[in-house]
Symmetry: C2
Subunit: 168 residues, 2 copies
């Protein structure tokens, strides 16, 4: 695991602590890597509730309440699914802020034809509508795609907790 | 990640495929490592639904339905919590078999005074009562405790799917 991810996790947990907020995650193609990184950062036992690893479409529906119709019509890798995953993680936890990742880490395109490296990241904060961002990393290797996705999700979460200032 | 864990994950997914069963996990101190290992094994996209990472007691209650009273009176690291985590993972998914891990990876004892290296592993199969096993690995380092816990959980899950035979 890269040091950069560790530093990003520290930033997220520091900002959460300062803001008095707790966090939760929802992951598909990264399969728990964001949880691993967050659990190793200082303050995890207080600020970090945990996460939902929803590898199949069925589990996205069962564990997070993602719409079956949406998954059937648009596939699992789209901004709408990322938003619903982030919102679902808040609904099924007592956390204040969530980040979600759904994408194709490879080595093959997914069953809906999404290319390797296409990743959608969602972020939600209680009381505000969830947002999503789409990334196209390209076919740069499974581990690198996963690390980039976690880095982008942690950055989005840090920003949702408190926008960066000169001191943070 | 050790090759041994990868081989164990292959065994679990092979047996699940042979038996036509799907799996799910519930993790506390390992924080998603079991999900990571399973997602890298062949057949994951069909047999492996995902998992619940429940790092705080509150999230064990919210995401898995573990009893608040049990957590308050016995702490998070006991066989009863491991059984409830495994059962809760089945209740909140459509998987057939689950494994759970709750323990103290360290470096410090947990808030209830459980020593580093104490880990309880649960396993459940739909239609049967969940079982649990307690392990005392000792203070052998955070990463090693996590890897041993995942190995023991994968072994328990493989056995719950189909007891070993000469050919498996």
């Amino acid at each position: 695991m890269s040091d950069d991810l560790g530093k990003l996790a520290d930033t997220v947990l520091n900002r959460a602590k300062q803001a008095g907020l707790t966090i939760v995650t929802a992951e598909s193609c990264t399969a728990g890597l964001m949880c691993q990184v967050l659990s190793d950062a200082e303050g995890a036992s207080v600020q970090f509730h945990g996460g939902f690893v929803t590898y199949t479409k069925e589990h996205k529906v069962r564990a997070l309440g993602v719409s079956e119709t949406l998954l059937r019509t648009q596939g699992a890798v789209c901004a709408a699914v990322a938003r619903q995953m982030a919102a679902g993680a808040l609904e099924h936890s007592s956390a204040d802020v969530s980040a979600s990742i759904t994408g194709v880490a490879g080595p093959e395109p997914d069953e809906d034809g999404n290319p390797v490296g296409r990743v959608c990241i969602g972020v939600a904060r209680r009381g505000s509508p969830p947002r999503a961002f789409e990334h196209h990393y390209g076919d740069i290797g499974r581990d690198t795609i996963r690390e980039k996705a976690v880095a982008d999700a942690l950055n989005a979460m840090a920003d949702a907790i408190a926008p960066a200032t000169a001191s943070s």
